[in-house]
């Protein structure tokens, strides 16, 4: 116990002496959270739109105006060569081009069908799909209102309509969804990298050997070494909580106890991974590179940046080996959905099992003697 406290005291002293490390542990995560929270925005709007109005009548102008009225489609005011609309998209000036042909107004009056040509840049599938659906939907509703106003007899007699209700995030704001996810990523980077570098540095400096000739136990040393990072992780998650509520207005619907207990479970995993990385590294450089080799796939296969259901079937089971997946479910569950422990029990179980395994394995691999 005495030895453990000595390690703990030393670690804290070192952290507080190293202003840059302190900044990395405390300030950087919050800056990242803020930038991430604002930058990650899946809401598709302001789609750059060009309208080639070949008809040039009040009716066609009103169509263009209505299409771009709510800001989803943003009109590009530039001279357009409508003989070659593809060009607009190739240069990236527009994401969609709508061509309203000659005689549209005349055709509408005559009740004749008019083809509206729509070009959509499909490069970004999310934007592409959204734009295609949005424009089709717009003209469909135009049809309906035209039909209704003219009392066209052969219109559909009845409709089955979808009445959507969005839970937990009714405005479907990206930041509400992303902020808890980003917290998961940031905690991983900060605690795992700091742990692995901290140990690798002692190896490189030779202090680890000096410690090895003292009678201090392996567990006492390692726990003393990682506990400060766990504590900083908890401080970070507290700051995340405050920032989420104040800046991003993320609701906290579940229990705060669950929030912090889940974080502790998760930190066991992240420092365990950090320890593991340091056991396979001799230098700081190796620790950093190995760390990245683990970090990148863990971030990608977590369901935090992209949905797990969108992954191919063979990839989905792999995510069960990823602590990020479980903690992502826990944080989003607790913050946004008000999930209870019963709801989240499988995630806690997964996180707990993985954490104990990785921590034990890393500790056993960590030989005080360098044999």
């Amino acid at each position: 116990m005495i030895a453990f406290l000595a390690v703990l005291r030393k670690e804290f002293l070192q952290i507080f002496r190293d202003k840059r490390l302190l900044a990395m542990l405390l300030v950087a995560p919050l800056v990242q959270l803020t930038v991430f929270g604002f930058a990650v925005n899946f809401d598709v709007d302001k789609i750059k739109t060009t309208i080639c109005d070949l008809d040039g009548t009040p009716t066609s102008r009103s169509l263009a105006q209505q299409l771009t009225a709510d800001g989803t489609f943003q009109l590009i005011h530039a001279p357009v060569d409508c003989t070659n609309p593809q060009n607009e998209i190739r240069t990236g000036r527009s994401e969609t081009v709508v061509v309203v042909p000659h005689n549209t107004t005349v055709n509408i009056l005559k009740g004749k069908a008019t083809p509206i040509q729509v070009l959509v840049d499909g490069t970004n599938p999310v934007v592409g799909r959204f734009a295609a659906n949005g424009i089709s939907g717009f003209f469909a509703s135009q049809n309906a209102s035209q039909n209704a106003s003219k009392n066209v007899p052969n219109s559909v007699p009845f409709h089955i309509t979808l009445n959507p209700r969005v839970f937990f995030n009714p405005e479907m704001r990206s930041s509400i969804f992303m902020v808890p996810g980003v917290a998961v990523l940031i905690l991983l980077v900060v605690t795992m990298v700091a742990t692995s570098i901290g140990l690798a540095r002692e190896k490189e400096m030779g202090t680890l050997e000096q410690v090895a000739v003292t009678p201090i136990g392996r567990f006492a040393f390692l726990f003393g070494k990682v506990l400060p990072f766990v504590i900083f992780g908890l401080v970070d998650i507290l700051a995340v909580l405050v920032l989420s509520m104040i800046i991003f207005h993320v609701p906290i619907r579940g229990s705060l106890i669950l929030y912090f207990v889940g974080t502790c479970f998760y930190l066991l995993n992240t420092v365990g991974l950090g320890l593991f990385v340091s056991t396979i590294s001799k230098t700081q450089q190796q620790a950093l590179l190995s760390g990245f080799l683990i970090l990148m796939p863990a971030m990608l296969l977590s369901g935090i940046l992209t949905p797990i259901v969108s992954m191919p079937w063979w990839m989905q089971p792999i995510t069960y080996l990823n602590p990020l997946r479980y903690f992502g479910e826990i944080l989003r569950g607790v913050m946004l959905k008000g999930s209870t422990f019963t709801d989240l029990a499988p995630s806690f179980l997964g996180l707990g099992i993985f954490g104990v395994c990785i921590f034990t394995m890393a500790t056993l691999r960590f030989h005080k003697t360098s044999t």
Binding site: V40, G111, P125, G128, S136, V166, F177, L289, M315
Partner: protein
């Protein structure tokens, strides 16, 4: 190689490059990071990074329980886009299903659904969506709305044998990615991402290590000039970077069917410009920090995050707040990402893309000049 034929300056530069190459070849882990990581990332991204709906788990609350409602559910799951994960009796159980992350959405088919159809009365189907699931929620809304609309038309058609005749017929052409595949969009971005990370990370680490170990001091005792050090260190990594770019593109085209519509030479030129900028950036970081840990953290904060977030890689720049849009202008990944996609998918030309090329070139010149200027011949 016979170095005697070159001028002393070129010889010295090549000597530094040769030594650097030895270091790289000796460090297997760094080599693995250089060549294995890009491929692993590419495959993971190519397959895993997608916002497409595929077997999205839904809950069904069928309050009607008639052949008509069963038929609706059967049609819903016919094309594999949706999967019925839970059959619930009570709409109030849906929230619990969301809280347990079992399902992403729920359709509530009302009582009298079948009866209403028979009577020709309009009916509401309720859709409950887990809004905490981000993009999926949006896609779910859109595609279920489309599904219900087409069901509505089909049923109405069967009932009345009348079809609504639209006056305005939209003919949508999806250019460059007609099937709207995620991989085609992400793979070009990934090329930029991988090159950026590996280049900055490797150079910042290796040069910072030389500062830490005092090798730099030794180097300065020789007649080698600053520019020679900078160039000599960059060359081997530039070669690695170009190999990586080729490798990643080859895998992208071979495995994920990414097309190459535009001019490969223009692409090569852009890649070279971008690599020089990234390597110069890594060098700059290591010269400024002279410390491996700080150089790497600096690289992580100034490269990895901006390349994921501020370059349009995953999320469109036009959606960001104004400040971040302006901020994104200083990161070359943004320009390179645009150029890559435009050349590979759209076949854009230099005339289309010149402003982006200027952005890339400006960044490279600034960081290399900066690195050279900070390469003070004095050991602090």
């Amino acid at each position: 190689m016979n170095l005697e034929n070159f001028s002393p300056s070129v010889r010295r530069t090549l000597a530094i490059s040769e030594k650097e190459t030895f270091h790289i070849l000796r460090d297997l882990r760094a080599l693995a990071v250089s060549f294995v990581l890009p491929i692993v990332l590419l495959v993971l991204f190519g397959y895993g990074v997608s916002f497409d709906l595929d077997k999205a788990p839904l809950a069904i609350v069928d309050l009607d329980n008639t052949p008509a409602s069963h038929n609706l559910v059967r049609n819903l799951t016919a094309n594999q886009e949706f999967l019925v994960e839970d059959w619930l009796k009570d709409p109030n159980d849906v929230v619990t299903s969301f809280r347990r992350s079992r399902t992403l959405g729920a359709l509530v088919i009302p009582r009298h659904f079948s009866a209403n159809i028979e009577k020709g009365k309009s009916t509401d189907i309720q859709l409950l969506v887990d809004g905490s699931s981000g993009t999926v929620a949006g896609s779910l809304l859109g595609s279920l709305a489309a599904f219900v609309q087409s069901e509505s038309e089909n049923i109405a058609y069967k009932k009345t044998l009348q079809k609504s005749r639209p006056l305005l017929k939209t003919e949508v052409t999806l250019q460059y990615n007609p099937a709207l595949q995620s991989a085609i969009f992400f793979v070009p971005g990934l090329v930029a991402f991988v090159l950026a990370i590996v280049a900055v990370l490797l150079t910042s680490l290796t040069v910072a290590k030389e500062w830490e170990r005092g090798n730099m001091e030794q180097l300065f005792a020789t007649p080698v000039t600053r520019l020679e050090v900078v160039l000599g260190k960059l060359l081997p990594y530039l070669a690695i970077g170009c190999l990586q770019a080729l490798l990643v593109l080859a895998v992208g085209m071979g495995v994920f069917d990414v097309p190459m519509v535009g001019n490969p030479l223009l692409l090569a030129f852009a890649t070279l410009l971008f690599m020089i900028g990234m390597l110069g950036h890594g060098l700059f970081l290591s010269v400024v920090t002279r410390n491996q840990m700080l150089a790497t953290l600096g690289a992580a904060f100034t490269t990895i995050l901006p390349t994921i977030l501020l370059s349009g890689f995953l999320y469109p720049i036009s959606n960001m707040p104004r400040i971040l849009q302006v901020l994104s202008l200083i990161f070359p990944a943004r320009y390179f990402m645009t150029i890559l996609r435009a050349i590979l998918l759209k076949g854009s030309t230099f005339q289309d893309l010149w402003p982006h090329f200027i952005g890339l070139a400006a960044f490279s010149i600034i960081v290399i000049a900066g690195a050279r200027a900070r390469f003070v011949r004095r050991i602090a």
